[in-house]
Symmetry: C2
Amino acid sequence: MRHCIATVCLSGPLEDKLAAAAGAGFGGVEIFEPDLIGSPLSPAAVAARARELGLEIALYQPFRDFEAVPEERLRRNLRRAEAKFEVMHELDVSTMLVCSSVDPEAVDDDALASEQLARLADAAERHGFRIAYEALAWGRHVNEYDHAWRIVQAADHPALGLCLDSFHVLSRRTSLSTIDAIDAEKLFFLQLADAPRLGMDVLQWSRHYRCFPGQGVFPLADFTRRVLDRGYSGPLSLEVFNDVFRQADPDRMATDARRSLLVLEEEIDGLRSSMPPAARLLGYAFVELGVGPASAADTQGQLHALGFAQVAAHRSKPVALWQQNDVRLLLNAGAAPGAGIAAIAVESADPGACARRAQALLAPVLDRSRGPGEADLAAVGAPDGTSVFFCTTASRWPSDTWLSDFEPVLATGGVKPTGIRGIDHIALAQPFDAFDEAALFYRSVLGLSPLDSVELAAPAGLVRSRAVVNDTGEVRLVLNVPLLGDSAGEQLRLQHIALSCEDIFATARAMQARGLRPLAVPANYYDDLEARHALDPSLSASLRELDLLLERTDCGDFLHLYTATIDGRVFFEVVQRPPGYTGYGAANAPVRMAAQRAAAPDRPLAATNGRRE
Amino acid sequence: MRHCIATVCLSGPLEDKLAAAAGAGFGGVEIFEPDLIGSPLSPAAVAARARELGLEIALYQPFRDFEAVPEERLRRNLRRAEAKFEVMHELDVSTMLVCSSVDPEAVDDDALASEQLARLADAAERHGFRIAYEALAWGRHVNEYDHAWRIVQAADHPALGLCLDSFHVLSRRTSLSTIDAIDAEKLFFLQLADAPRLGMDVLQWSRHYRCFPGQGVFPLADFTRRVLDRGYSGPLSLEVFNDVFRQADPDRMATDARRSLLVLEEEIDGLRSSMPPAARLLGYAFVELGVGPASAADTQGQLHALGFAQVAAHRSKPVALWQQNDVRLLLNAGAAPGAGIAAIAVESADPGACARRAQALLAPVLDRSRGPGEADLAAVGAPDGTSVFFCTTASRWPSDTWLSDFEPVLATGGVKPTGIRGIDHIALAQPFDAFDEAALFYRSVLGLSPLDSVELAAPAGLVRSRAVVNDTGEVRLVLNVPLLGDSAGEQLRLQHIALSCEDIFATARAMQARGLRPLAVPANYYDDLEARHALDPSLSASLRELDLLLERTDCGDFLHLYTATIDGRVFFEVVQRPPGYTGYGAANAPVRMAAQRAAAPDRPLAATNGRRE
């Protein structure tokens, strides 16, 4: 299918939007009228630019409120349409979108609407153009696609057809059954948008919160399949009004948009899809952490206290391998201060297939400089800049894997493990404008499933948090973003690595014996915990002693502790997860963030945000 | 009345919230439970800190979902309440808030609710405490205050009364008449919050969009007066959940909050208020502009082309006075680059009264360094850092006014005016977290009326814009803010000064003759204008020739043009306003912003927003 995108989805002046769309591999665009009117490029110059870029101009929407108006008003509308037809010749676009009227002057008269749209179609036909009529979800009299279809049927004009916009249909939960009755040649255009389910009026919802397919909750694969099954052969065209997207980098957003259509097509095509399928992930091969030189000793001390030992050094890079059982952490202690989690490596039975899928889904493939004889690791860049590696770690070492790039170091004495068995999850702070993009990236590229977003109260504002997990729970990522831009202070840049254990009391004691000083949890927290639950006094005493947090769940107690923050950026969590529990102790997150804030009182609370001091 | 504020209104750890509340002159606080639980301070230490700061702890809300539950659950709730009563002793607070239950287990049984609340009140009474019951607007069975009142009446317990929260009452448009029937001694507490009218579910509305009194649309003066008329003698206490406020500087927010209560009391008290009334404003005395040295020549050239002449120089500061008719602009050409509009001076018949009112409303009074013999100008700082001066400019110069600080300069030749008659409005970019604060500041301190907010599409995102005006239209300010944080690029820092004229065609021609090069308006704009309106061809030709924008209004044509942007920060607008028109040509703002973007293509489109490159 051809992929198109409406220019309103992207930030910047029209020429940047066109370049971004072409760069992401779109075959065409819908020109959003204000983008054209605000452009210094003439319509002919826009058309020429689009042609150079290999873009078709697939749709133009120059005005609204056309039909079911008094005759005098209709004449004005037709006159205006004639002027826009001239623009369409210059733009080299043949389909004009007309949305159902929201004008208070419009009357509730389907016959009049049909007749007037037919007159517009007559005029369009004389130019070789056609009119696609669309029911806005908040149209004054026509707000369901099946109503628009009755009007188009009654008009019975070859140059008049329907535009279906998934938002207008799915936001109102209109039955899809009428789609099966629409003649294929009357399906002039298909606009796609997803959205989160929000309890607000549909106009605000549509204008501010649409998102790309797969980023919301609408059943877009069903909807689109149904339209395609009728024989629709036009483009799949994205029309997304989103406050965040429209201020983000247009090249990145266009890539995100295009990826959403590739994923949608894969869903629609099912087994017939040519997309390399997501390979099964088996957990983490390693996580690479970068800290500034000033934090090197602290980090090494913390890893030691957590029960890790340095077992190897990279042959060509200043990177050390720390290990406990099969949990491997790479530490680059000469990184830029605050670098944080530089890379995540997931275990896969078929890293090559993972990389091919990532590439097909437009993930940026990273060039790796490697020494002679070093393993060639497939890696892609995630939206927040973290590198994601795909690898297979042999159980026996050395072997022809990434581990062979490391040289064993002499053990400095027997290191007794503390009971860390795996990586439970990794939490990554996302750039404000990459949250939806990141969820789709991990869902599509790694085959993870996004869970519901939650909002967490940090001392300096709300944080939105969303987990993406694989079906076995072996790979879990938590994506965090300040609810409102990046102005809520340093605290929200925090990342963490959560390590799992089976007996957190024993593990915490072993760690404290090795010198770990966990994040201090306020006594008030335990007082409240005791007030809420009838805690066994010895349990309560242990929690207090070990700075453990508890969330009582239907699956049992979720227990966790945190370390101090390294480099103002990264900390560790140690968790004991009850079987079946799929959360992350969200109820305790505000306490954790308050405790972190108390531990770093000099950190700026809030950015000055453009204020003049 | 005592003024209180809930700690949830403010950003930061609990000790910062207490300090901010005390600093702004609040007499007490409500302790929001998560703030206490996340604090390393014990309840007794919190109480001690509050005492030191002169703050009463007026209310504590330790849990929800108390009433109308099965007996076993009730026993757990009572046990928990006992633990919280102990905390209340330490906190030195005597009133506990209990909101109507949202628990799915709660049953719809008023008698049971009454009975169980009476049992809680019994327990509270033994401690010398009392329970304030509040209907949440989204309570499962009890969601109107009159319903809560029936339950409290039926319980008939001396330690059980009502808490009224304006949001829960006014968001549902519940009739206020039952307030008149509530016994004064049963009005235990009054929480105040305003909100904009939003078409969304009430829980989301409440949790994210509340604001301080006077910043929304609720009739808070009526509501509060009604409660006071019943004999309520407790504090006026703000409980505002707002995504923006909770990440802003707590000291500033606390001042804004306190100002809102001062304004509310003035409204309630009417003529009996001790607040110095707002003096009548008569327009602008001057506007002071600061530009970097590199932009000095450009700015002077632009002022010259606009028809201004430099008529005087400040006696002790590097500031020049430029004038045309009675419009006076001060230019500091040695300011920091991008300084922009440093000061606005409003004409007042009684500058002293203005300053006293500003001070009473907690506006920061600015220290002015002035030379010997120079006028003492009263000035306060606006939320965005702009200085606001109050002055009286004598018609004859020199005299004992601010003008006497200036030394006339020799005219460099006859300057022919271009027809500028006044300042139509001044547009100021606001810090993201100061938008509501700014509207309340100008409304209360200067006595201006806020008009409705509008959203404008800039190339790099949406901008929210709100005008505040006096009743004669002689003082108009337009406050602009990026809709989502400060991440939407440099463009949104733009400020401008709009100059008014009576014949914009003549004025624009005179300016062009003097060398003005207006902001280039795209031809597409005029093509669309012609398509929309049957424009007279000669009018259309003049608009194109002079780069004039037109908005056809019910009052006549609003015509305007823009200059190039100086210093990346400030530009001028020239407007011809039809009598009776109260807008600002919002329909043309996107075209203006697109044209500005086209004129400065190197300006960053969007901030990287924390992304790692």
